[in-house]
């Protein structure tokens, strides 16, 4: 019997062959904590589990990305406590401004093919972009990993996405991610792993878009088989491969030739329509950023559409690069200058306004177009705000350009 990628990765971790449905205990390769939850994770480990020191400091990574830099005395105090903990326990910490955990762990080679990378964040599915088993868990589960080195989980079934063809001009991978939300719905992959086939040609940033959005289908993990650019950059274990004999719960075929630009409209990620259906809707804020679409390629796409133009007077363009590396890439050519000349407001690398806590929280009358991953009510700001979102970087720039022509 063949194995899915999830079965292969979990089998290797357990030490014998496992099948979907099995209850297993594994030792994750990496357990990530970010600033928003690490204080509670430390509390659970030390006060509830009565474990003072982490089990495997070299298997833990901390990132200050949610409120980066600190926005209040309270968050600053928490962040200092995290720094002290990291220092005392010998844990690697990525400081405020280095960027979003999901971007940084890939840049640093911490997430890599075949590893189990768990995180205190639902978008931990992002690590599937490099062929890792990436999944999000709550504070208690992460505390258990930090304290004991192990965690229990059920081996998921796998849904195969069989992609054919290439993107047409004006369409890119975010449109594919949104199309999958539309087809499978927000719960279509609950408890499952999603495997994306037919994408050997897709860049690493493109794979990151898909893997980060896997959780918006309800998935436990979303894995792009390590190939192409990823196989050139990372070592791929010989036991990790797409198995022709693997058994899938469901197969979904997507023909890219037929794919149109997509937008998710308020207030669910699977409320996806064609861009043409909502063109002309006025917006007050455009947000370019997040672990889904805050990389150099996204900034460059927006710059190409804004070159020589200005953001309309009643629109704010917020740009929050996913990491310091991506920001530096945007300064090496004229990408960043172009965005700034057009009137973009630059935020420090991190999650930015994505959760509605800082760096561009929306007011009651704002309408925001975002390259992020969720448009739930109240997330980026006031509960009454329609958060028209989830456009690809290209379409986002397109909207900005239309605003500039005053067609709002």
């Amino acid at each position: 019997m063949g194995q899915t990628l999830a079965e292969q990765i979990l089998s290797r971790a357990v030490g014998h062959a496992v099948r979907s449905g099995d209850l297993v205990v594994v030792r994750p390769d990496v357990a990530m904590g970010h600033d928003s939850l690490t204080p509670s994770i430390i509390d659970i480990m030390q006060q509830e589990l009565h474990i003072e020191r982490v089990h495997d400091p070299e298997r833990i990574v901390l990132a200050i990305d949610h409120i980066a830099p600190a926005s209040s005395v309270g968050t600053a105090n928490y962040q200092n406590a995290i720094r002290t903990f990291a220092r005392q326990q010998g844990i690697r910490l990525f400081e405020a401004g280095r960027g979003i955990s999901h971007q940084v762990l890939i840049e640093e080679g911490i997430a890599r093919p075949g590893r189990i990378v768990l995180g205190s964040d639902s978008h931990s599915t992002s690590y599937g972009a490099v062929g890792a088993f990436g999944s999000g868990m709550g504070s208690t589960d992460i505390a258990l990993i930090w304290g004991t080195g192990h965690i229990w989980l059920r081996v998921p079934e796998t849904i195969q996405i069989d992609v054919r063809g290439r993107f047409r001009p004006g369409v890119d991978v975010k449109d594919l991610a949104l199309k999958l939300c539309r087809e499978l719905t927000i719960e279509g992959a609950t408890y499952a792993c999603v495997e994306y086939h037919g994408l050997e040609w897709l860049s690493l940033p493109g794979r990151q878009v898909l893997a980060s959005m896997a959780v918006e289908l309800g998935a436990k993990a979303g894995i792009v088989p390590p190939s192409g650019e990823v196989a050139e950059r990372f070592p791929v274990p010989e036991w990790l491969f797409v198995d022709a004999e693997a058994s899938y719960k469901r197969r979904v075929r997507v023909d890219l030739h037929r794919l149109q630009p997509q937008v998710a409209i308020p207030h669910a990620v699977d409320h996806v329509v064609d861009l043409s259906d909502v063109a002309g809707e006025p917006v007050s804020v455009v947000f370019l950023g997040t672990c889904t679409n805050g990389r150099y390629e996204d900034l460059r796409t927006a710059a190409s559409l804004l070159r020589g133009r200005r953001v309309a007077a009643d629109v704010r363009l917020l740009v929050t690069p996913a990491s310091s590396h991506e920001l530096q890439r945007a300064t090496a050519d004229d990408t960043l200058t172009t965005l700034l000349t057009a009137g973009a407001v630059l935020g420090s690398p991190g999650c930015g306004p994505c959760m509605g806590r800082h760096q561009g929280t929306l007011g009651d009358d704002d309408v925001c177009l975002s390259t992020g991953n969720r448009n739930f009510k109240g997330r980026m700001g006031s509960p009454g705000v329609p958060d028209l979102s989830r456009l690809s970087g290209r379409s986002c720039g397109d909207r900005g350009a239309r605003q500039d022509r005053g067609s709002a």
Partner: protein, 163 residues
């Protein structure tokens, strides 16, 4: 008697506790007071210990924030009963020892505001004289809930479930 608070489908964790009410953002505050504070302020104001939270499909989708589940735990909801759960939320609720059930008949039968009796020993809900059984969750899930959560389970047994 327990009051039923009925919700629809796809209730996400940003509705359950918005990010700006996270313990990280409000040190020293009781996160239980923020349960549904923007999405359903009447719940935030009025929910009593023992009340029943009933929902349709995919309850708890979105962010992995465990404080969404712990806010409901701090409000001492008697049980969360839905047609289906999002996976991270379900896992978090179970980890915290919150009784969680999938029970389609009950979800279809109750309305918001109904008064019911929740009997966890007999594992049923009584509405208007009629008993609705609460199907038991998978064995290891029940083991964790019976222990009061995954931390008490691990402390008591020195292992994870299923071995």
């Amino acid at each position: 008697m327990a009051r039923v608070w009925k919700f629809g489908s796809n209730v996400d964790t940003d509705q359950i506790v918005p990010g700006r009410y996270a313990p990280y953002m409000r040190p020293g505050e009781d996160v239980g007071k923020a349960a549904f504070i923007e999405a359903r302020p009447d719940f935030a104001e009025q929910a009593q210990p023992g009340d029943l939270l009933v929902a349709e499909r995919n309850f708890g989708c979105g962010s992995s924030r465990e404080y969404a589940a712990s806010a409901l735990g701090r409000r001492q909801v008697g049980a969360i009963i839905a047609l289906s759960f999002a996976r991270i939320f379900f896992r978090n609720a179970v980890s915290l020892g919150i009784p969680t059930f999938v029970a389609a008949d009950l979800v279809a039968a109750v309305k918001d505001g109904d008064e019911v009796v929740l009997d966890l020993q007999r594992r049923h809900v009584v509405l208007g004289g009629r008993e609705f059984p609460l199907p038991p969750p998978p064995g290891f899930v029940q083991e964790i809930i019976d222990a009061g959560g995954i931390v008490p389970f691990v402390e008591r047994h020195g292992r994870f479930p299923g071995r």
